[in-house]
């Protein structure tokens, strides 16, 4: 390594973080970040990457360990302390004030960083930054009106505005299109070439290899290896990330999946015709979408987040009223009917957020079983009376057959890990023996193994004969499980692809509208 002559900008020494409840997120992690380098922090979901940079950015306090900035020990009581030491975090989900304009958000940050710059000066600085880095954005746009990519731009501008010498990018490419990813990676390079130290968090090997000088791999809270790009081998990095054994297991899962029998396609279980749906801010988010789904078919809906998928999904499950158009499920017109009509038809629903949308937090798995089946013919409810014994049996069955790791059916839904929550939800929805399963980002936030298990379940269900509509931001996932993929862009279905998929065409349809 040629960093021997340089002093590290930021050093983390023996950082350990134990959350209340005993979860060890970081265990004895030591890491140096040098000026002028991009360090990729690689690891799967839950490896402790976000916790580590959150500690470096003053968002959370370590249980043990020390932070040094340019060799000098520091204690961060808040992100403001870290900002004043020149450390900026670009979080995975932008943390901006929705009711402020872009400019107002930036002024706020510059104040927090200890600079008493007025709004005019900040506007001037913003113009300079735009020119220098090609980050164009309307400064008087309200944050709530921005797309995800634009919000992220604002976060990056925040870091540049306070002239941070250390920039921490937390999974910055998650919601970006391939073209946007390219732009971001070259921006990342530019930041480092100007002498900044950049930490680039990712769970995508390809990105780490493209952008970084050094790659630090984390697994289960520990730092397992730091390799320079020159010496990096894909196989070796993978085994650092997952461990040998798990790689073997995952390979088997994928192999077994290929040999799954496919069901026979017959009836149309979902027909959407010229559907128009308004979004939360009044404008149309879905503009005349049409599609058809047959039984035993997996139809993937691809698209960059914020192109109307959420509103489309909400209209399909009956919690957002369409303005016009038609939704018909298993031959019944349900366009203007609520979710209970779907429930009676036996539609399975796997929403994007697990807690609060699919599960009631603070309630037992038994309760959540009754909730999920509430309006379905399979509900353990007779004449409005809940048969709690039957419900408990159902919950036990779901836990057993899907191998949900839970202390029992009385366990609080909130206490389960993300993967186990999702398994329980999927199991519950399958209990309805649905003719149609509507799923949105069912594997987001899950580790690789849990995600594979969920995809397996979806495919098994399709083999049984259910039609599955899978809305996902993860193109890899869609390609892996779908029989057909449609692309949604600006509320329209702009492209339809059949197996074998041409990824470039799909990606192009996602980004060009």
């Amino acid at each position: 390594m040629n960093n021997g002559d340089k002093r590290p900008l930021l050093s983390l020494r023996n950082i350990t973080k134990i959350y209340p409840g005993g979860v060890v997120a970081n265990k004895d992690v030591s890491l140096d970040i040098y000026p002028g380098e991009v360090l990729a922090l690689l690891g799967e979901n839950g490896a402790g990457k976000t916790t580590l940079v959150s500690i470096a950015a003053g968002l959370i306090k370590p249980t043990e360990g020390q932070i040094l900035v340019r060799g000098e020990p520091v204690i961060f009581n808040s992100p403001r302390d870290a900002m004043r030491k020149g450390i900026a975090l670009v979080p995975q989900n932008p943390m901006l004030i929705d009711n402020f304009t872009v400019l107002e958000n930036l002024v706020l940050v510059s104040r927090l960083a200890g600079k008493r710059h007025g709004i005019r000066l900040v506007r001037k600085q913003l113009e300079d930054l735009e020119k220098k880095y090609g980050l164009s954005i309307n400064p008087s746009a309200y944050v709530w009106s921005l797309s995800f990519g634009e919000r992220q731009k604002v976060e990056i501008l925040k870091a540049l505005l306070i002239d941070a010498s250390i920039v921490l990018l937390d999974e910055p490419t998650t919601h970006l299109s391939p073209i946007e990813v390219d732009k971001l990676l070259s921006l990342t390079r530019q930041l480092a070439d100007e002498g900044r130290g950049v930490v680039f968090i990712t769970h995508r090997l390809s990105e780490a290899l493209r952008v970084a000088e050094r790659i630090a791999v984390m697994r289960r809270g520990r730092l397992v290896a730091i390799v320079s790009r020159k010496d990096a081998h894909v196989d070796q990095l993978l085994s650092y990330m997952f461990g040998e054994e798990r790689i073997k297991r995952l390979t088997e899962i994928v192999k077994r999946r290929r040999s799954l029998p496919r069901g026979v396609r017959k009836d149309i279980v979902l027909r959407v015709n010229d559907l128009w749906v308004r979004g939360p801010h009044g404008g149309f988010s879905v503009r005349g979408a049409s599609l058809e789904l047959r039984s035993a078919e997996v139809l993937g809906v691809a698209g960059i987040a914020g192109n109307g998928q959420r509103e489309f999904f909400e209209a399909l499950i009956g919690i957002r009223k369409p303005s016009r158009g038609m939704i018909s499920i298993c031959g019944t017109d349900v366009t203007f009917r609520d979710s209970s009509a779907r429930g009676r038809l036996g539609v399975g629903i796997i929403p994007e957020d697990r807690l609060g949308w699919a599960l009631v937090p603070g309630k037992s798995l038994v309760f959540n079983t009754v909730l999920g089946l509430y309006s379905s013919p399979k509900a353990p409810i007779r004449f409005s009376i809940v048969d709690w014994r039957a419900a408990r049996k159902m919950a036990e069955n779901i836990i057993r057959s899907l191998e949900v790791k839970a202390p029992g059916p009385d366990a609080n839904a909130e206490s389960l890990s993300g993967g186990n929550m999702q398994r329980f939800i999927v199991g519950r929805e399958l209990y309805k023996l649905p003719c149609l399963l509507l799923a949105m980002n069912p594997t987001s936030g899950l580790d690789v193994e849990a995600a594979e298990r969920i995809r397996d379940l979806l495919l098994e269900e399709a083999a049984r004969g259910a039609g599955i509509l899978l809305i996902s931001e993860d193109l890899d996932e869609l390609v892996e499980v779908s029989d057909r993929i449609v692309v949604m862009s600006r509320g329209r279905i702009v492209y339809e692809a059949h197996r074998p998929f041409n990824i470039d065409k799909i990606a192009e349809a996602m980004t060009v509208s």
Binding site: I319, D338, S339, S340, R342, G343, L355, W357, K363, S384
Partner: protein
């Protein structure tokens, strides 16, 4: 351990700790009353344990408990109405009207009809709050508060106008035949509370109610009607409060008098009892008893020269510390 059982145990621990803590604070404060800590505690205890306190508490228990158990149900659905006060009053008005002006004689059937009618009027008044919320998005706290003032206005209009009797702003007292005993009144509200508890535990509406409060979007997604759930709890809450008003009239009040802007206060005490009882009808019944006892101790303590406002402060301390300790303890239990 079963989560429900665990919740009950931790709740009970919290209750005991809260009571102990409030007794401690009361004693410290009591030492400033001029009676000394020891003297005060003696008086406090003897008043707490005296039979008079308890028998005089039960008539208050009736409207407080009827308000509280219904409010517990409403609050469980996240429907924060404070309209029990007005519903208790209109329940009393309805019972009086039906018995005195329509039926005109007392019998078991007549009294039963009067109480049910009181419930019906209460339900309509509660349903109005629910309907405004569901149909027009009117905040239930505001609308129910305004409806309470309207109820006070109605009572004051009646006792000073069409129903006035003998030159005072009050109605004629009901004859003894048009009344119910204390035990009957208590039984009515206890049964109502029990039925509400069963309603929550065993019907699908219990699931709907909790889901609507804790995860509205989940409720919506899996086919629970938010509007219908809120309407149902609004109607039931009003019904039970109305019954409490009817029973209050037939047992304790026997006539209507003019009221100040604070109303009778039972509906407001019910709010406290509902939260204190952990938003469970049965818990609300127990909490109502506690509040009723504190309320009736006020008069006993006043006889010993303990000032009214001091007793009021003590009540508040007891209620607050019980609430704080049960919440803390339950939260610990959930871990």
């Amino acid at each position: 351990m079963n989560t429900r059982l665990r919740g009950v145990i931790y709740g009970a621990i919290g209750l005991v700790l809260g009571l102990l803590f409030s007794v401690l604070v009361s004693l410290i404060l009591g030492s400033f009353t001029g009676l000394g800590a020891l003297g005060f505690s003696k008086i406090f205890l003897s008043s707490l344990l005296s039979k008079d306190t308890w028998t005089s508490a039960l008539p208050y228990f009736v409207p407080i408990a009827a308000s509280a158990s219904g409010l517990a149900l409403a609050y469980r659905a996240g429907f924060i109405t404070i309209g029990a006060e007005g519903q208790v009053m209109l329940g009393a008005v309805a019972a009086y009207w039906l018995l005195y002006y329509v039926i005109g004689h007392g019998s078991v059937a007549a009294v039963t009809a009067a109480i049910l009618f009181a419930g019906l009027v209460g339900a309509l008044y509660g349903g109005l709050v629910g309907g405004l919320r569901v149909g027009l998005g009117v905040n239930e706290i505001l609308s129910s508060l305004m409806l309470n003032y309207i109820a006070i206005g109605i009572v004051n209009y009646l006792v000073a106008g069409p129903w006035q009797q003998g030159g005072y702003t009050r109605t004629a007292p009901l004859p003894p035949s048009m009344s119910i005993g204390l035990s009957a009144a208590v039984l009515i509200v206890v049964i109502a509370g029990l039925l509400l508890e069963l309603f929550i535990v065993f019907t699908k509406y219990g699931v709907a109610i909790d889901s609507v409060r804790l995860a509205r979007k989940a409720a919506q997604t899996y086919g629970i009607g938010i509007a219908s759930t809120i309407l149902i709890v609004a109607l039931i809450q009003g019904f039970v409060a109305g019954i409490g008003g009817g029973a209050l009239l037939l047992q304790l009040l026997r006539q209507l008098r003019s009221v100040g802007l604070g109303g009778w206060g039972y509906g407001y005490m019910g709010i406290l009892a509902a939260w204190l009882g952990g938003l469970r009808p049965l818990g609300a019944l127990a909490a109502s008893l506690l509040i009723a006892i504190l309320y009736s101790m006020r008069s006993t303590l006043q006889l010993y020269g303990v000032s009214d406002s001091f007793v009021l402060a003590l009540e508040a301390i007891i209620v607050l510390s019980v609430l704080a300790f049960t919440t803390l303890s339950m939260r610990r239990g959930e871990r």
